[in-house]
């Protein structure tokens, strides 16, 4: 193995050539990598789960009913997909700060605050993409379910089942936005570790940003690889899950 490392390029390529070896050489404290991976996953999964619980009923109601201001809600949701994450982070910081409406809950620089900001970021894409795929289900399927004696709930369930790929895509898009997000979690979470180097509010993304800024490219790349692997694994699981639903 090459021990003599000269120049930036070699430094960058080194972990790719034997990616596991440097982990043991790096100045990690015990549990450092694991703890930031855990915080990333925890915050994103909780936020996306909450978003999904809110988004899908909202999408179903929007697809199935007419109400005044529906078009307005739709455009708010659609433009929400483009919310700049740092601005969301700033807004959430104001809300949870001592003077803000949630100030008494002492949420500044906590995982809960990160969950709130990721929730705000993940909800619009999940709602918008779910709505598009629910609306895209052939109207004749709805008619058939209704004519065969289905109640509104039965019809909604049929439509959700038909739209499940689109909905899975929506959830993945929301998860992708949450876990790869840097700006807002940095602002509301603070990128904090405890004195013994275990992550409190440091995520893979904020850690990568920090390590890269400090010139720790190897560490940054390892963390990046872990992040990519996580996203990949979760995508595979969700798509698999969607596939199994069809067989029955």
């Amino acid at each position: 193995m090459a021990k003599r490392i000269d120049g930036r390029i070699t430094v960058l390529l080194e972990p790719l050539m034997h990616p596991l070896v440097p982990v043991f050489d790096l100045p990690f404290r015990d549990g450092y990598v694991w703890s930031i991976t855990y915080v990333s996953l925890y915050v994103s999964l909780v936020a996306v789960t909450l978003s999904t619980l809110v988004s899908i009923p909202v999408a179903v109601v929007m697809a199935f009913s007419q109400f005044p201001g529906k078009q307005f809600v739709k455009s708010v949701v659609n433009s929400g997909m483009g919310f700049p994450s740092v601005v969301v982070g700033l807004a959430v910081l104001f809300v949870v700060s001592n003077q803000g409406p949630l100030g008494s809950m002492n949420l500044v620089f906590t995982r809960e605050a990160m969950i709130i900001s990721q929730f705000v970021l993940a909800t619009p894409p999940i709602t918008a993409i779910s709505l598009a795929s629910i609306s895209g289900v052939n109207g004749r399927v709805r008619d058939a379910a209704h004519a065969l004696g289905g109640t509104r709930l039965d019809v909604a369930l049929v439509v959700l089942k038909e739209a499940r790929y689109g909905i899975a895509t929506a959830i993945l898009a929301g998860f992708g936005r949450a876990i790869s997000e840097v700006g807002s979690v940095l602002i509301v979470g603070g990128n904090i570790t405890s004195a013994d180097g275990i992550s409190k509010t440091r995520t893979l993304t904020t850690a990568i940003q920090l390590e890269a800024r400090q010139g720790q490219y190897e560490t940054a790349m390892i963390l990046g690889t872990i992040l990519l692997a996580l996203v990949l694994v979760i995508n595979v699981i969700v798509i698999r899950f969607g596939d199994q639903g069809v067989s029955r």
Binding site: R140, V141, A144, H146, G149, G150, V158, V246
Partner: protein, 254 residues
Amino acid sequence: MLRAIDLAQSYGDELVFRELSLEVDTGEVVAVIGPSGVGKSTLLRTLALTREPDDGAVTLDGTAAWSVDKSERLPLRRRIGMVFQEASLFDGSVARNVEYGLRVRRSWSDRLRSELHSILSSNGTADAVYDALDVVDLVDKADQQAGSLSGGEAQRVSFARALAYDPDVLLLDEPTSDLDPRNTAVIEDAIDAARNRGIGVVVATHDMHQAERVADRVAVLLGDTVTETGPTERIFEEASDARTRKFISGELVY
């Protein structure tokens, strides 16, 4: 049994039909014939209680469906089966499609239980499902995915799906307009089988030969109302209304 009395229906300002009355009894096949676009589908949706008429009443054994509460209308609606012009099957197996009407009629706890049961043992399909598939000659396709069927087979499954929960009335909207002669024959035999079970069948069709083959009575929908109703033979041989005669002889083309 199912009666439509002085129905009127319109889309916005556009009148579809008015003063339309129609009746179907148990074990009777009534064909509604008329040119394309005359409002046969709208009529069937109104009879299926999925569209409220602007005026008039739809009664089932004397109960006016739109005068009762929504909660009382559901059981009425569930005594009616409907087959659309296009099959529109759900994702999933053929058996699961045919089972749909039975499933939504069960309580939620029952549904959950049978759902678990079918996951564990894969042998939870009701006899009524196979019985209905037998009528359309598709028992052997029960476990296939609905998406893999041909258009004709899909339409036959769609028929079985409406038959499986043993409705009192079956409404068929141009059920064979996209089908080849063989699949058409299967559907027409199935209409016969439904009649023999005591089901009242209303079939909307623009195919007059089909009406002649399957129907006991014919209602002719021309312009904005039914111009004539009567036994099939009489309508085709000696309709009393001049426009009906012209339509049947092919002189009146829309």
